[in-house]
Structure formats: C-alpha cells, structure tokens
Point group: C2
Chain length 316, copies 2
C-alpha cells in the first residue's frame, strides 16, 4: 500500500493496473448546455463506468495493489454505496471475499448492487462510529484488509485516472469541476490536473446540506458540516487528513449549491445528455451553472461521478 | 436526390458528408445484461446523438445532398418528433428554413426540441392524411423541399451510417437488432450489414400495437397494422415501398413485443446502462430478450434509436 501522496508515476501505474477491468468512459457534449453556460463543456461520464460510478477505479487500484497473501483473506470497507460496489466488484474479479458494512438507510439500488456482486453485507446505524466499529469487527474476525473509501493513497490514485483520461482525450481544458464528499475524487482530480494538465484549474461543487469541505478548505483543518440535509447521498462524509492536504495544494475553490440547484442541474443533464446520474453527480454542474459568469468562454471538464439512483424516488 | 437503392459507395459518401455534424456515438456494454441474455451485447447509443436520435443522420444527409438553389427555399417534413428535430437541425446548420408539420399529440419534449432549433411548426390532426396535406400546403406556398422521414434513399443512406459505425468499432458481430416503424433505420441497417458486415444478420423489433411491418414482411406488400395502441410513439407509421423492398432483401426476421415487454426492457436499460431511452428505443432489446434462446453466445449489436421522452410521464 502506497504511504505517500501519489506521484505522477503512481497515477500512471494505477491506470495501467486497472485498465483491463474498467470502461474508458465516453465524454459527452451538448450544444444547448454550452450555450446556456457560455462555455465549452466536456462531460466525463463515470456514471457509465463499471458499477455505475468512478469508485470502480479507486477500489480496483487499491485491491490490485495488495500483496497476494493479504488479498486472499478478503477485503472490507464501509460505504453508503458506490465504494461498497467497487470493493465487491474488485473481490469478484480477483477471486477473493468482500465484507461490506453499509448504513441501513443506503439506497436500495446500491444495496442490491453489492448483493448481486456476491459480497457479504453487514448493516449498521447510519453514522461514522457504527460504520467504523462494524469494520473493526470484520478485521478481527477474518483478517480482511480494510480499504477506506477515500483516506487511502491507492484509492486516490485510482480516482485520479478519470480526469487523466479526460485530459488525454481533451487536451486543451482550462478547468475541471468535480464533486466533493470525502475528497477521494477531488484530490485525485487535483493531482491529475497538476501532473497531466496544461495549467488546468480544479474546482469543486459541494451540497449546502453537507458543507464540511468548504469549511475545511478555509480553515485548513478537518471540519464537520454545520448540518446534514441533502439529496446528494453520496457526498455526506467529511474530508480526511490525506484528502484535505492534497485538496489544499491542488484545488482553486469550492462552491456550495442547494438541493434545488442540484435538482435543476440533474434535470438538465437528463434532458440534454440523455444519461442517468444520481443527485450527487449533478453537484459540480450545479456549481458551474451558479457561477457561470466567472467561466465564460472556458473549456471545462465536468466529472459526472455516478448513476446509481432509484428512479422511482426521483420527482421530475 | 438519390433515385436508386443506396449502394455501398452511397453510404460511405453519406457518412463522409454528415461526419462533421454528428456525434460518433459510444457503444456501451453491461456484464449483467450479457449474463441475462447469454450473449455479448453491444449497444450503439443513438440516444446520445445530436437531437437525441439517429434521425439526425438521415435528415442531415438528405439536406446536404440537395442542390444549393433547392436548399435555399427551405426544407419541410411531417413527423411525430425525431425526424422533425433532425430537419430543424439540418436547416439551422445549413442556414435555411425548416417547416415542420407535426401531429398535435406529439410528445412535448419533441415539440420543444423543434421550436428551440428555430423551425416553423404547423400542427395537424394525428393521421397520415392530415400530415401529407399539411406538407402539400407548405410546398405550394414556399417551394420548400420535402424530406420524407423514411421513404427517401438519402435518408436511408444516412440512417445506415449508425450500424456502419457500430460494425467498424465491433468487427465480429453475428447480428444486429434494430427497431422498425417506417423502416428507414431498419432498411439502412440491412444495407450496411450487407455491404460492411461479415455475415451480419439483421433482425427487427416491432410493437404488437403497431404491427404492420411483420405483416408486410410476410405478404411482401404494404399492410396496415391491425390496430394502433402502443407506448412506442416513434414506431407508429407503416413501411413504404422503398423501405419494404430493402427490408425484404436484407432482414432475417421481425419479432413483435408487447408494451409490457417494452417497458421491462426499457427499465433494464435505464438501470444497467444508466442512459435515457424513449420507449420505441427499447423495442429491439425487448425483442432479443423475448427470443434470447435463439441467440445464445452470439455477438449482438443493438441500435438504441433515441432518448426523447417526457420523463415525468414514465412510470418506473
């Protein structure tokens, strides 16, 4: 396991390592959305990734980086959904066992995704303490290797490959927008922009109802959100020491958006790009829409993070 | 305007002609759907095409094939939706005027799409006679060039480029499934398979509630559907002489599916591919699901035709 902030070579190696297992996701465009924003937009569709989210990249890279004797005892994690599916997929592909501690209020589509991949599910109360205790028990019982959803340099290096791919396909981007929850994707995006971009500036979108990252970004230490209440169920966690350090070094700014703004952005993406995204995934585009005046005529990459949503529960 | 059945060179020329304006749409895959069908599936995502449907290909090819003096008087058509948007887009791109006769019960999202592209809309009763009379008036008044949605060899050659692209990306397909309404896409698919495929067999899906093509396919003459009642609003029209002739020459079989089967296929695609398709677009996949026993271990291309659907009206 990597013990230092991923270097350029680590991200290149991660990409090589996971390439046989992941999808090179398409980059979609829309004349209508370009006109609406006064910019050129390039949507990197990680909702079309294996397990329907970018998390496949980080989970696979972390699992593939383990020594065989560790891998054979299984891997485990706690997650509200997409990282859980990523670890379950990695275990299935690498012929080992996955143990997943999931908050009992996780979306059904994400629970089913984990079950379907053959992982063992352990439900817990929906708070960080219960999640961490659940994992502790698994480690004691089975000796399984814990793969944290974001506070893990191999996971971060894996997530970084999404924007690496985007910049390889679209070499002249001015900036990239990504969502921020625990910060795995955002810190990976920041590193890739730094290593592979030509002066690419990275911005983040965060829900107002889980606004810890913006506070941590300002105070330069881990803060909690003042309150948790948002439709963006994938972005509820706080930053970690590892992700905050990288974000402070590589990210220009974080913009917060309301649930109303998230839903408006989500609807635009459904209508114009004809793809299904989960609410968390609409957050960076919502952030751009709100601040579009500052980004006129720019070439902007937007990482669409995932598409695991119970459609019956969304109101159009 | 082309007066003969498109030859290989016509389809190659059509592809060159429209390439600057269209999207090379992605081909998506799903392990889950492969397992479900016992086959390898390659979904060609024309719902991610400009205007959200393959119709952009045919409309653009027909408009681009017109002499300049004809084009300058404008182009016109009648259509329940996607072809209308294609003609509106072609007129916008080529700086001419589009006149669109649309049945007044066309889906709102398709009406709005046409309006947004700056075309002039003329509403009519939802039957073929009213549509044809509407177009006649436009031609008399403005001298605009009529581009039929499917009974037009340039349109057929344009639609053929979708499966040409698919076979270029995936060279070892055994068969391709396409939907059939008027037969423009299906006849184009049949021609491309014949010219560019290595023994690729073409099959069609048709709604039970608009089942004219299967009758025409059997009797070898244009038949009407016994009744019209289906959620697949893009597949209500009959075949034409031009499309039937090509279909009889190039298509192996046509399978009908119920609305229930269409909706089940649609839901699977939403859940597994994370893309938005309109009900008509789910028809070929529904046809494959229903007949999967005959297609075990095959490599199957499926043309996903369009994504223009009022999501608020779909029940999940």
């Amino acid at each position: 396991m990597n013990q230092h902030i991923p270097q350029q070579t680590d991200i290149v190696a991660a990409h090589q390592r996971i390439k046989p297992y992941i999808v090179k996701t398409p980059v979609l465009r829309s004349d209508f959305l370009d006109e609406l924003c006064g910019a050129e937009l390039f949507f990197k569709c990680e909702n079309l990734q294996k397990i329907g989210a970018f998390k496949a990249r980080g989970g696979l890279n972390a699992a593939l980086s383990l020594p065989k004797e560790k891998l054979s005892k299984g891997i485990c994690t706690h997650s509200s959904g997409n990282h859980a599916q990523a670890i379950a997929l990695a275990a299935k592909l690498l012929n080992t066992k996955a143990y997943i501690v999931m908050p009992k209020n996780a979306p059904e589509i994400k629970i089913n995704g984990v079950k379907e991949l053959g992982a063992e599910l352990i439900f817990c109360e929906p708070n960080l303490e219960a999640r961490e205790n659940g994992v502790k028990e698994i480690i004691e019982k089975y000796g399984a290797e814990f793969i944290h959803p974001f506070d893990n340099y191999d996971v971060i290096a894996g997530q970084a490959t999404a924007s690496k791919e985007l910049m390889e396909e679209q070499v002249d981007l001015d900036c990239i927008f990504a969502p921020v929850g625990g910060g795995g994707l955002l810190s990976g995006t920041g590193l890739s922009a730094k290593y592979f971009g030509k002066k690419v500036q990275v911005y983040a979108g965060e829900p107002e109802g889980a606004a810890d990252a913006i506070l941590s970004f300002k105070s330069k230490k881990i803060e909690k959100a003042p309150y948790i209440n948002t439709i963006a169920d994938g972005l509820l966690t706080n930053l970690s020491d590892k992700t905050l350090e990288i974000i402070l070094d590589t990210v220009i700014d974080i913009f917060t958006v309301s649930d109303e703004e998230i839903l408006a952005a989500l609807k635009l993406i459904y209508d114009r790009l004809k793809i299904i995204i989960e609410p968390s995934c609409a957050v960076p585009f919502a952030a751009l829409l709100k601040n579009k005046a500052a980004f006129q005529n720019k070439k902007i990459g937007i990482i669409l993070s995932g598409g695991n949503v119970d459609l019956a529960k969304l109101k159009f």
